[in-house]
Symmetry: C2
Subunit: 240 residues, 2 copies
């Protein structure tokens, strides 16, 4: 009985949710252009200098702005937004801080495909059940020092892809090293944007720079170069 | 002997080539962000009002600017540009005007993946051997009247996707009808750009319009919404 109760507690356990919104168009990465809902969990083990969702990271913000929700409540909320949108993207903060197996199963049971975005600092077995896992190790400009060995667990996931945001030459060198280390994993480089100061013109100029930098480097010949359209279009908002 | 000679003639047959360039970043569709070479064949059975490559369409231009090349010559030219770039994209004009089986096999034999872009007006068995087939039926704003039934052959191809460029409401209705007719095929809607008059700002505004139009239509919930980055970034040039 104790075992069953413990199991039951796990499956109704609540998660701190910062926001649930959608449907929107995914503005970046492997899902670029696809319609998805977003479920943003609170809390993060990183403090990136250019983080675009500090309200989902800083403990005081998370305490103030998050609501604890069960998997069923989250599914019902997503369905109330639009039951037809095929994807739900779990983002953060770092969603891998949490035990999300029950949520992934509940969402898939309701017919959704589940994508997740994480920096690759914490591995969870529930990632194996997701339909797409975007792992974005943070480059030097973030001020973080990622554990590169940890990524070897992520890249064995069948639906994993690596995505590195690039602001400058040092970030590009970091991206290159990642790609060389894990050549079998689909690899995206993406323009880093200065939210607030960038215009459409400057963003496109940066994309041009990153494209030419990538094209000129034989080691990067299989890398996929993308902008962050959600920043281009909608300021600090992940999607439309 | 006659049969062998005839076969031999087929396999060394030349194709009118307008341009071979690369590597560039694919600016649109299912391959967005990927590095590819382009091989542009001359000649087209369509005369779209907003065609962005008239020099590959109009007979006088094709006669003046194309060079007849054999599959081997094309492969050697692509390899001289960059042997490491993984993809070669066959575009036009309409590449399906030509017998490109020998070229596809030669490119794949040299280690390249082959993508093709065609409007879906002419079916060729060699399309079945390509790694990706992008079929872009032309909407009302093009002034063309596509044979929709013909598309049923294309969508059975294992690596086919449909892509419709949208300039206005009538184009959107056309895209919607395509998607409803062939719901099992990955479906892209893409902003139509006015080359010469559009700026980065106006292009992004159009993308915003198309995104919101698509999000608001339940029948379009699985459609993928993308810009044409090559137009945004590089004027009338397919890629970087």
């Amino acid at each position: 009985m104790t075992a069953i109760s413990s199991q039951s507690r796990t499956w109704t356990r609540t998660v701190p949710i910062i926001e649930i919104f959608g449907p929107v168009i995914q503005g970046e990465g492997a899902m670029i252009g696809r319609q998805t809902h977003f479920v943003r969990t609170g809390g993060c083990d990183y403090r990136c200098s250019w983080c675009d969702t500090p309200y989902a990271v800083l403990p005081e913000d998370v305490r103030q702005h998050s609501v604890r929700m069960s998997p069923d409540e989250i599914v019902r909320r997503v369905q109330s937004l639009n039951p037809l949108t095929p994807w739900v993207t779990l983002s953060g903060g770092n969603p891998a801080l949490h035990q999300l197996a029950p949520l992934v199963i509940a969402l898939q049971g309701a017919g959704y495909c589940v994508a997740v975005e994480t920096q690759g600092s914490i591995y969870r077995p529930w990632l194996e059940t997701c339909d797409l896992v975007t792992v974005s190790p943070k480059p030097p400009s973030s001020g973080m020092n990622p554990d590169i060995d940890m990524l070897s667990r992520f890249v064995t996931l069948p639906n994993a892809n690596l995505k590195v945001v690039v602001f400058d030459d040092a970030d590009f060198a970091f991206a290159r090293a990642m790609h060389l280390r894990y050549p079998g994993t689909p690899f995206y480089v993406q323009v880093g944007n200065d939210i607030g100061s960038d215009t459409a013109e400057t963003l496109l100029k940066k994309l041009d720079w990153l494209a030419n930098r990538t094209l000129a480097d034989p080691a990067m010949c299989a890398a996929i170069v993308l902008p962050q359209l959600h920043v281009l279009l909608y300021g600090n908002r992940r999607g439309v």
